[in-house]
């Protein structure tokens, strides 16, 4: 009985699943996915992704991620890639949630994006639409249909499938290269995705072989319409237009006004339009000539002139000139569709000068997004400080500017290199892109840094790698007036602290003994016969003096309290004065202005 009930419920659920379309199917597919019922989720998600059934919102994007995961689990990698490519063409901003989805889905999405970026579609010539079937068939094939046109067109799909206007072809799901051509018209190439049970309809409006090319340059950048059809942001390069008259509309960014003009394009004519109000000059003639070409919209010649200068002896050019020229070259390459080259120049731009931020009127939003992405992926750091600064240590901070590509924790170490190396100041801060660190030039003990040669090293630690920059500087202490210390008190200013008392008998005996020894020693050497005396008078005098001095000095020292106190007060006053002056001098020296000179930036 229970088995019968279960089979009935499952059968009903399956029937219900087949019947759902649009948003309900999307929701049901997500629920099946969460229950790990991948076989059940697959058809529901496929049906629910019909863009005609609902908005391309977060639910829709989540469904794409889940569908990809399901297909990868079921080992249908090619089909997963086709769905992802289709979804990315439909929603270029699609980003897989790396915290939720498995890495294999993230990698598949990255590969799909790379494929889509390398197979752009000329939306002015070709239009692709996808039609979901009204009822689910559960098939494993998709359909390609070439819409009819005013001229007899033919299309080659993939390697060996040929269609004429109005024909259809059933194909296995995947990405196909399509070439549509007609006699007397320029062929167009595009890549389309074929999805299971979905009809991919390709409609083209081929341009005649005599079509001209439109180039538009503008600064500040703007948006260009041709015959009321949006072309895109400036610069516009090589936009094909049929011979004849065309209405051009240019809308400057930031509400800067709208300009309408009309151009008549002759057969195969190149038309250059320029709304440049601000030009770049670097002072380097070769660079300035190339930049002038870009300013007038001659992008191809401008790139051809600029590229060899930067690739050749560009390293000898001043860094600001190189930076400006590299930014312009990236802008032009991006407009010409050389996305990889443009990204390489953006990398160069970040490495050349991490402090450089492209002017807001130069990079259009697409290029700015690409630049921001490149910058955040570049592990570079640069530090800079005023070349010559005078500041008061402890009170004033020394501003050090920091620029990083990839955001991260930046450590700044001010290291004394001469006269003896040791680390002095360590500052750590998180830097998103640009920041200013204010370093107090004092040690942990509050004392000002000692003069000498220093190296300021900025280091940003990123996952797996480290980038650093070094700034060498010299710190000098500027002279400051200090108060001279008081001279030592002269000896006569002190009073005798003791007086001699009466000597003891023993001291007298010692003194007399010393005197007798002196006399005896002299008498021992004396030649009595020669001098006529046993003891020379001088010897007796000297012996007496020795005895007297010995007795006189041997008396006990009797302190004179009044004089001791007087001398103590005298010394205390002097020491107090000396300490006060020393403290004042130390304070002045600690606050003496420091001069900081950046002597070399390697």
């Amino acid at each position: 009985m229970r088995v019968l009930a279960s089979v009935t419920v499952l059968a009903l659920a399956t029937a219900s699943a087949r019947a759902q379309t649009g948003r309900p199917a999307l929701v049901a597919g997500m629920e099946r996915y969460l229950l790990a019922d991948y076989q059940g989720a697959l058809p529901l998600l496929g049906r629910g992704l019909d863009p005609a059934a609902g908005p391309v919102d977060s639910l829709w994007l989540s469904a794409v991620e889940r569908l990809t995961d399901v297909l990868l689990v079921l080992r249908q990698d090619t089909l997963a890639a086709a769905w992802l490519r289709w979804a990315i063409r439909l929603a270029p901003g699609l980003a897989v949630d790396e915290e939720v989805m498995p890495p294999i889905v993230v990698r598949a999405a990255a590969a799909a994006r790379a494929f889509v970026d390398s197979t752009p579609r000329d939306r002015f010539v070709a239009r692709v639409e996808f039609r979901w079937p009204a009822a689910t068939r559960g098939g494993t094939f998709g359909t390609v249909r070439l819409a009819e046109a005013d001229v007899p067109i033919t299309a080659r799909v993939g390697a060996d499938q040929f269609l004429r206007g109005g024909e259809i072809r059933r194909l296995t799901p995947g990405s196909y290269g399509v070439v549509v051509s007609a006699p007397g018209y320029l062929p167009t190439r595009l890549t389309v995705e074929v999805l299971p049970d979905v009809t991919t309809e390709v409609a083209v409006n081929l341009l005649p072989e005599t079509a001209g090319l439109l180039y538009v340059a503008a600064r500040p950048w703007g948006t260009v319409w041709v015959d009321s059809q949006l072309v895109g942001y400036t610069p516009v390069a090589g936009h094909r237009v049929a011979p004849g008259s065309h209405a051009i509309r240019f809308v400057r960014e930031g509400g800067g006004g709208t300009t309408d003009t009309a151009v008549v394009v002759a057969d195969r004519q190149q038309v250059h339009l320029s709304w440049t109000t601000r030009t770049d000059t670097t002072g380097e003639p070769a660079l300035d000539r190339a930049l002038a070409l870009l300013d007038v919209g001659d992008l191809e010649r401008g790139v051809r002139a600029l590229d060899p200068v930067l690739r050749g002896d560009g390293t000898s050019l001043p860094v600001p000139a190189r930076v400006r020229a590299t930014a312009r070259l990236a802008d032009a390459r991006w407009a010409l569709g050389d996305r990889d080259s443009a990204l390489a120049y953006l990398h160069d731009l970040v490495r050349l000068d991490p402090f450089y931020l492209p002017p807001t009127d130069l990079f259009n939003p697409d290029l700015w997004t690409a630049y921001a992405k490149v910058r955040r992926g570049s592990p570079v750091i640069a530090i800079r400080a005023p070349a010559d600064t005078v500041l008061t240590p402890v009170r004033e901070a020394w501003p050090v500017e920091i620029a990083v590509g990839q955001p991260g924790e930046v450590r700044l170490v001010l290291r004394l290199t001469t006269p003896r190396p040791h680390d002095s100041v360590l500052t750590s801060l998180f830097v998103e892109a640009l920041a200013t660190a204010r370093i107090i030039l004092a040690g942990h003990d509050g004392r000002a840094l000692e003069p000498g040669s220093y190296g300021l090293e900025g280091e940003v630690v990123l996952s797996g790698e480290t980038a650093s920059d070094l700034l060498q500087l010299v710190i000098e202490q500027l002279p400051v007036d200090t108060t001279p210390r008081p001279p030592p008190l002269p000896l006569p200013s002190f009073r005798p602290e003791t007086s001699k008392g009466l000597p003891s008998l023993r001291a007298i005996a010692n003194g007399v003994g010393l005197g007798l020894l002196a006399v005896g020693l002299a008498a021992a050497v004396n030649d009595r016969d020669l001098t006529g005396r046993s003891i020379p008078l001088a010897a007796a005098l000297t012996g007496g003096a020795v005895a007297a001095a010995s007795i006189g000095f041997s008396g006990p020292a009797v302190p004179i309290p009044a004089n001791v106190d007087y001398n103590h007060a005298l010394r205390a006053a002097w020491q107090e004065r000396d300490r006060a002056i020393s403290a004042a001098n130390a304070l002045r020296l600690n606050q003496a202005p420091l001069r900081l000179r950046a002597v070399r930036e390697p």
Partner: protein, 219 residues
Amino acid sequence: MTAFRLGTMLASLLLPASQLVAQEVVARAVLAAPRSSVRVGQLTERVAGLWGGVVVDFHMGPVGLTASGARGRLTPAAQQPVLERAAGEMTATGRYDVTPWLGMEAGYAARAFRSAAGRERWDIVGVGVNVAHRLGTDGSRAYARVSYLPLVKVSGEERPRFAVGTEVGIALVTNRSPITFAFSYRVERFRFEQGAARSDQFEALTLSMGARVLRFNGR
């Protein structure tokens, strides 16, 4: 050469240790009453007088150097048929204090007499010991010096066979001023070969006064 090398080595051992110790320079004016007694055969002549001069002492830790110079006139005692003479002396002495109360010293002295009869020069090299007894205040002391004079050369005469000298005296230093005083008595006795039949004694009672400058740890 060996002695020179030994001396150089000893000096090099002593100097580094004394670089940071206190240094003292004393300069004094000297007033002395010299007396010279000479007996040749049965004749004895005695001359005495006054001379003045300067003495400079330099001390650095245990090492001391002294240089002095003095000159004056010596006149005979009454009723002696001896010529009056001019006299002068220059000395240079080096000392090393083994302990605060015992020092070793070596010195050289050149003494000359000039009279109407001619000149006589004495070159004296001596070594000796110096014993000091402190007298209550810093630097004041009573001292006695005994010297053996192994090398004595007298111009125009043979070298003495034996020569000794002694000096006793006091040196006073006041605590509250840089003034120093010294009072001493010095005797040198020279005995010549028997054949020369000569014996000499030189004495000097000396009073000196001067000033000292002390330097501690480079200040």
